[in-house]
Symmetry: C2
Subunit: 367 residues, 2 copies
């Protein structure tokens, strides 16, 4: 499987794989099952997070592949006229990130032969694209040597919101990559501070760069059902048997995240590297992080997607999104008021993580 590794070290082929799956339930009511977060222009920049991701990887990628729910393929294609039909891979149902990324890897390899691919979330925001490009190029270089390579974000602070990557010694060669000792779950504040004090920990942004044959080889050992299934799917994908094969094989793929299927066990074997990168990277996970990414007005409010009056009394830091009538917030600092036209959310930036329960609360009250 790795016999052609050295053939690739000078190859310019690089495939960007973008799994576009999560609804983003903490951004309800903007995000909904029928209009997931990655299709939204959350920052009011004139394009969706997905399209911004595709445009960000375009200078690097000889191939770009979106793996998304079958219900979203029309919307995705509509937003991405630069892609062809073959670049959008519909999943019949969500089976977590490993199945999605492995399917993309298998299709790419079947079409083009082994190549280096990078997997990037569809709904992250990167404000320093050059730094990102440099990190991905370094990661691709390290990946050509056979490693699973992740990009580790230089922490801006001891955040409890992210998992961390513990780095060790440098890899041989000049890629700038380091061995990964371990991946950690989201820490508490004390642990996060201790991580940062060592200088060896990076935020895990879920970006993996790896040769398709290396990835599928690891899966052969670690998740054989996925490996076998996606190879069978890839063989049938561009022929008349795609639908029948999907229907038969897709439900058999193990539901598991790439972190647990590949990153953690392969790191334990010494097969994962990290490229540290000082990138302005953000996961727009909830309304608090959204508000933090937008410039407040002179009066302290953050106002998005509104052309009617918005005012406050003693409510600095409040976020107001959407709506077609004047809004006044009184005495609720960091309030969050989101009018999606067909539903209204009132919360605070401090409570923003709890918003994922909002739609459920509404359903349980008869909606």
């Amino acid at each position: 499987m790795t016999t052609n590794a050295h053939d690739m070290t000078t190859s310019a082929a690089f495939a960007a794989v973008i799994p576009a799956g999560g609804v983003g339930s903490r951004l309800w009511p903007l995000s909904r099952p029928d209009r997931p977060k990655f299709l939204l222009d959350l920052l009011g920049e004139g394009q969706s997070l997905l399209r911004a991701t595709v445009e960000r990887v375009a200078p690097l990628a000889s191939h770009t592949m979106i793996v998304t729910g079958a219900r979203y393929t029309d919307a995705v294609a509509g937003q991405l006229p630069m892609l062809g039909e073959a670049d959008i891979v519909p999943e019949p149902s969500p089976r977590d990130s490993m199945a999605a990324i492995a399917l993309a890897a298998a299709i790419l390899e079947h079409r083009h032969g082994p190549l280096v691919m990078g997997s990037f979330a569809a709904d992250h925001v990167i404000r320093t694209p050059e730094a990102f490009h440099g990190a991905v190029r370094a990661a691709a270089k390290a990946a050509q040597g056979g490693k699973v390579v992740t990009i580790g974000i230089t922490p801006a602070g001891p955040s409890e919101a992210f998992g961390y990557i513990e780095a060790g010694d440098a890899l041989e060669g000049d890629s700038g990559a380091l061995h990964v000792e371990a991946f950690t779950e989201k820490p508490d504040a004390e642990t996060a501070a201790a991580f940062l004090a060592t200088g060896r920990y990076y935020w895990n942004a879920g970006m993996f760069v790896v040769r398709t044959d290396v990835l599928l080889g690891h899966l052969d050992r670690l998740q054989p059902a996925i490996a076998h299934g996606v190879r069978e799917l890839a063989s049938a994908w561009d022929g008349p048997e795609r639908a029948a094969t999907l229907e038969r094989v897709w439900p058999t793929l193990t539901k598991i995240a790439i972190d647990h299927a590949i990153a953690e066990p392969v790191a334990a074997e010494g097969g994962v590297a990290v490229v540290p990168a000082d990138i302005d990277w953000q996961d727009v996970g909830d309304f608090d992080s959204l508000a933090g990414m937008l410039a407040p007005r002179a009066d302290g409010l953050v106002v998005v997607d509104r052309d009617v009056a918005t005012a406050h009394v003693g409510s600095d830091g409040a976020l107001v999104v959407g709506g077609d009538k004047p809004v006044v917030i009184v005495g609720v600092p960091n309030a969050v008021v989101v009018d999606a036209g067909d539903a209204l959310l009132v919360t605070t930036r401090e409570a923003a993580q709890q918003v994922k329960s909002a739609a459920d609360a509404l359903h349980s009250h008869g909606m």
Copy 2:
């Protein structure tokens, strides 16, 4: 002036005077200059606070008179078909409560001769009408003897939201009224608790019962400009010179509240009495008091004037008024969300007093 006092002790004549002036700016955006609080059905009871007030005094009153802004007379007349045109007294401009009540007293006396009148706010809520009626009858009895009589509400607790009436010894006779020692401004919590510990303090609900000739007599001494002006207006009121007289005289009336013009100075002279009354009385001053008057649903929300879904996560005690789309409140206990159709307010019950600045905030932001 008091020569006919004894003629009145057996008289059934009683005039209810209802000054209807305040916009209720702490209830924005429900209340507006063009739809003041007293015209609103705040409790969802099928009638406005004003109409509820008129119906409450109807069993007592041989005459009912509304003093209101000229801009509201059509709306008031529309809500009160039981009144005649002569019962609605339009003020060309607001000149505070003393001018309004004195004008009513002078017109009533000019039309009917001296009689006992009671002044009652247009926007208070009384849930125990029988207790109210008993208190007013006792106050009228005491007023026939020449006192200015107020009704003192037995405090439900050491509220800082109301002024207090300090009572002294009982009046002679069997009215149950007590001498008033003094009126106090709204106290702090410690002072309020000290008041209650004495057993001699009552909430001042702004209800005054007094003979018209006694009231006008006090004004002759204490506020001669008002006394002279309203007598002149009353003489002209039901004739062709009303408009001209109003235009000339109304701007000369001293702007002062009845508390400062009459209640406080006459109390200092020993001329005021109080009838203690155990009444369920509420001043629906802001959204906190409104929420407190309404029964919460099983899920802890107070919902008014909505027929679409309303839900919450961790937001017990929240009040949601109006609106035509589903609302979810997340992590904001005691939130207040008021959709008046053309404006949205988001606040909390704790901050409800600050709402009076909301409309100003909006104006300063370009509305």
